[in-house]
Amino acid sequence: MDIKKVRNEKFADFLAILGEQKLYAPQKVGESLRFAHVTDSSKVELAMANTTVPPKSIFFPQTETLYRYEMGNTEIQPPAVGEVGIVLGVRPCDARAQVIVDNLFSWDVDDPYYKERRDKATVVGLACNKPCVNCFCLSLGGDPASTEGMDLLMTELDDAYLLQPLTEKGEKLCQAAAAVAEPATAEDLAAAEGLHGQAREMITRKIETGGIPENLPALWENALWQETAASCLGCGICTYLCPTCHCFDIQDEVEGLEGRRCRMWDSCMFKEYTLHASGHNPRPTRRERTRNRINHKYSYFVDKFNVIACVGCGRCINHCPVNIDILEILAQVKEAL
């Protein structure tokens, strides 16, 4: 597949071509950056490091109606999933995270809602030229220019965006953009290589994950969980902003004679998570909840799907109000092993 480039002055035209399909891209929503449907391409923000909310929200919306029902009608009405065209500007960690989450949604049954969105979408990735201070993707098998989970990888050069198609969908997109694109030169490819290499050098935070998944459960009663949980507020930031966290709750929301069954994000850091109808909760305090968060990512998920459910995007570190730092926890884990 041929590598192309779109010059900066033609990028707006490129966005217009992408916008012929339903296009999602990073934009300011309220005061924060997240993926949203593009209605005005001048609002697309690709320069920022990464979005606050990961693009998982497109494939696995925070709230989604599974079906509607009404009194006196035994038919249930599943809503149409709707169009998902192109997801533009997905960072390599987030694209990889979605591949990890795919495991969960296609494990015993294919989740029809999730799968339909994944199948429909064309993921246009964007290599990280300037990783953030808390990025540690290299430690988890990622890379600032990783192509896993993408149909096309873009790299921002000085005067153009390099387009590297990776799948048939990506190739199709490149062809659709033929009018604004031109073949990339050997210098362009070398420049991109150089940027990717520089980005790798800029990632300073790391963790050696070897030995963690198999030994983590042995630290069940270790004091480190209590020490970490002491300052934890029990809010949902680390899990909601995590690109691989995928826990959900299902609730019925009924108004009058109509109702809808909804699926919504849940967080293992919440008090009512796994609260039994009896009033018993197997994870009664933040100690057990913190332990669960780390064990789920670094042990249970690995047991089941053979991959760590963390991609090193650094969001949980960046946004934790009390500086609970997963790398610090993992360092303590390594020490205790």
């Binding site: 300052s231 507020l233 809010c235 949902g236 909601y240």
Partner: protein
């Protein structure tokens, strides 16, 4: 100058007392300008304590956030005190918790730290982006001095202090069992200019301002959880039956959440600004809280968290209340 060695000395003595369980203060964070709450259980752990313009956390929230586990049969509950470092605004949270009997006076040992203002991390990280190395800071003369890896940088405090600190009227703790450091002169005054600005808009303008903010809320509940005054054991927002606020995240339910939260804090919010600091999507939550604070001050000449002997606003009755709002 903050004599941090003196602070550590005080902390060592405090945690060595028989009637103190542990002390909560601040420590350097894991990167950049971040700091973190620090739980000091032994005299050795006091070595990591700091007190600087980076210590924004209001630690009073941990007095009520602590989880009460069932006491094993045959054991007595641990009734020792929690020692707490408080800035001026933080002390008002402790006072308000005492007023409401959320905590008992003998459950807490308060160490007052007069404060010359803490930074707004967003302003600091925008000024010095991409800081990986750990940075400390001190108060200068009308400035904040950052000890960056390649030397000290002094910044006028207006540029980096949190908004709440620029208008702060209570920099000195209003309640303490022990004081650390010199009392500081009050610099701020508060005319609620930010609230008045917003009030000047038409209802449509105000709603479109808030609609966009509420729509962006993810309901992570960090604003509620960090709040030292949000300590109901059974929060209305977590209730499933009846479910007052649906779990669906949409503008309507998010609005219900934000209004419920704000109204439950009317006459109780001590304006430490923690809710706004922790919001991952930068909703200006303090504008809502301060609208209610302004109403409470204007209508009842009342401010919460000042006098532990006073009554909560909603539990006080005065025959000379104006009542001009009753139709």
């Amino acid at each position: 100058m903050v004599d941090v060695e003196k602070l550590k000395e005080i902390a060592r003595e405090t945690v060595s007392r028989d009637d103190v369980k542990y002390l909560i203060g601040w420590r350097q964070g894991t990167y950049g300008f971040r700091t973190a709450p620090h739980f000091v259980g032994t005299p050795e752990e006091a070595d990591n304590l700091i007190f600087s313009p980076l210590c924004s956390h209001n630690l009073a929230t941990y007095l009520t956030l602590v989880e009460k586990l069932p006491v094993p049969r045959g054991q007595d509950p641990d009734s020792r005190k929690v020692a707490l470092l408080v800035k001026g605004c933080d002390s008002r949270a402790v006072v308000q918790q005492l007023i409401e009997q959320g905590i008992g006076r003998d459950s807490v040992f308060v160490i007052g730290c007069p404060c010359r203002g803490v930074v707004d991390l967003k302003k600091v990280e925008a000024k010095f982006p991409g800081m990986r190395e750990k940075v400390s800071a001190t108060w200068g003369n009308g400035t904040i001095i950052f000890n960056l890896p390649n030397g000290n940088v002094e910044v006028p405090r207006q540029e980096v202090l949190a908004g709440k600190c620029l208008t702060c009227r209570y920099p000195n703790p209003l309640l303490s069992d022990l004081n650390f450091g010199e009392e500081v002169a009050v610099w701020g005054s508060d005319d609620y200019a930010d609230v008045k600005n917003l009030e000047a808009g038409s209802p449509q303008e105000r709603w479109s301002f808030w609609e966009e903010k509420f729509a962006s809320c993810m309901r992570c509940y960090s604003c509620r959880n960090v709040c030292p005054m949000c300590y109901c054991e059974d929060c209305v927002l977590d209730r499933l039956n009846p479910q007052w606020v649906m779990r669906s995240v949409n503008t309507a339910e998010n609005t219900a959440f934000h209004l419920a939260r704000a109204f439950h804090l009317a006459g109780r919010c001590i304006e430490c600004g923690e809710c706004e600091r922790v919001c991952p999507v930068d909703i200006p939550i303090m504008k809502l809280n301060r609208k209610l604070s302004k109403e409470v001050r204007e209508k009842y000449a009342f401010e919460p968290g000042l006098d532990p002997e006073s009554k909560p606003l909603q539990a006080s009755y005065r025959p000379d209340d104006k009542e001009d709002f009753i139709l």
